[in-house]
Symmetry: C2
Subunit: 317 residues, 2 copies
């Protein structure tokens, strides 16, 4: 099961962190871009090749420290077909290094169209009756629940059949997430609570040996109080926590998404790791050429930050 | 403005129809697949080339009859990088035939990530300070509002700056759409009503010369009563109507999404057009070799069906 593999990866590396691979051009050191632009041209292909090179160097620097990476599809789609090629190459490379891959696509649709999305990321595409081929080779996908169960079930089928996982948006980290998610229904429940109840139900058929489900949820670190409530509703759900660092969430805020067993959540960091060499913490120690070393240092710093907060916070639970 | 171009396309062709390009392998005649599998192999590339050929023949058969096409991204993503190439080629070909392209991707995210998605479909990707390149060249994109305004505004900025459009999911055509969308808040309003009020507000800055906005909405034909209410809330929104035909919505059901000016909605048909040659209506008249002629016949039948229902229905309004 996906969730068992994820938990074992977290335990093995003693690190509940997923590194977001959101490779904006401005993050990539000039020496990489200069090289790929020279070789492939000042075009989408040149950008895509720079992304591949940058991601590979980040992965090389961190694969022994974190269980998983989370490429954000938007940052690949914006480079067109070449960008999607870069996404695919990144996933293949991450896989070769033993990393679990959570594709952040927030995909959503209904019926056979949801099946097609699930096929793309979590399934196997049928070419012919005998021949099947994987479109992309990832382990889990973020999905959006606006369309209800019709939009979720096809993904869950692939979680069951192919040992994959999903993370359903429940309470997102952004300021305006409340416009819809915080609305309170006539039963005195908020939308995010109702979604959490669905996530709990949907996840039951894919519960693994540690008591967690391959149907997880996204709950932003920027809403620690809501996280506490949601943690209690979705007892079996692994929570993917965005919003640590750059968006203002602290390690202490993240603790609310964990359970007493020290499991239950995985915290994402994207910019703070990819751009560590530009950050106030690391910029004096590492120059652009040493960007990957800065990323490694930041991953270690974050791991210690989270583990300290967990030691402190879980004792108080 | 996008919406003015869409309305002029609808008026010129006297047809408020958008043809969905959802090219499942089972829809594509054997003679096309045999050819591309022979040339490119029994693999994702072979499928992608079959899709391109199939779509081009459909487009050739219908481009003078409809204003717009709506490729559904899921059916391209499921063929990996090659599938995205097929999406891109399809868009380029449709554009060369003067068609408006609505990419059905239901994209959603926040802040700079939403900007990246918008960039991919509605914007221009910056390669370098001087050089910009389009990732994909489409006119509009469907988007999902679960994350609130932070997830919508970046797309609206491109609607303003680049004369593009979006269609925001409000009430989707599927059975379980009510699980979230029909929930009633303590103000006695349903989620779909509240989303419709947002769509109305969000759309104001991009209102065109016919009084409609480039911020449209998706409201399924399968919910005609809700459509009537939503039509009255979102006075300026163009409504993209899925669910006609295969999903059970009738032309009469679609009329509720139009206004008295005969404008305000565009009805999607995917399977009924792409698979017309297999349908009970057309299978005796057209064989597999003539599949595109069957699609053309179905587009004409649907146009007449919608226009009759509009003549009848709008008189009663």
């Amino acid at each position: 099961m996906f969730i068992d593999r994820l938990i074992e990866g977290i335990q093995e590396k003693d690190n509940p962190t997923v590194v977001g691979l959101d490779p904006k051009m401005e993050y990539i050191p000039a020496f990489i871009k200069d090289k790929t632009f020279k070789e492939y041209g000042l075009n989408l292909k040149g950008c895509a090749e720079a992304i591949i090179e940058f991601n590979k160097m980040i992965i090389d620097a961190i694969y022994d420290l974190v269980p998983a990476v989370k490429p954000q599809l938007a940052y690949y789609e914006m480079y067109g077909v070449d960008g999607i090629y870069a996404f695919d190459e990144t996933c293949k490379y991450a896989k070769s290094k033993g990393l679990i891959i959570i594709a952040d696509g927030k995909r959503n649709d209904i019926g056979t169209t949801a099946e097609a999305y699930s096929n793309a990321f979590l399934g196997i595409t049928e070419i012919d009756k005998q021949i099947k081929q994987k479109a992309f080779d990832v382990d889990a996908l973020t999905v959006n629940p606006y369309l209800g169960e019709d939009g979720i079930k096809p993904f869950i089928n692939d979680c069951i059949n192919n040992e994959k996982g999903i993370f359903v948006l429940v309470k997102t980290s952004n300021k305006s997430s409340g416009q819809l998610q915080d609305l309170v229904t006539q039963n005195c429940k908020s939308i995010y609570e109702i979604m959490a109840e669905y996530v709990y139900e949907w996840g039951k058929p894919v519960t693994g040996k540690y008591g967690y489900s391959s149907v997880g949820a996204v709950v932003g670190a920027t809403y620690p109080n809501q996280a506490k409530l949601l943690r209690s509703i979705m007892k079996k759900a692994y929570i993917l926590v965005p919003g640590y660092g750059a968006q203002g969430g602290t390690a202490r805020d993240c603790v609310n998404s964990f359970q007493k067993d020290r499991l239950g959540a995985i915290v994402n960091a994207s910019r703070s790791v990819m751009c560590a060499y530009k950050s106030d913490i690391w910029k004096n120690e590492y120059n652009e050429q040493k960007f990957a070393d800065a990323s490694r240092a930041e991953v270690i710093r974050m791991k210690n930050d989270l583990n300290s907060a967990l030691n402190e916070g879980l004792n108080q639970k």
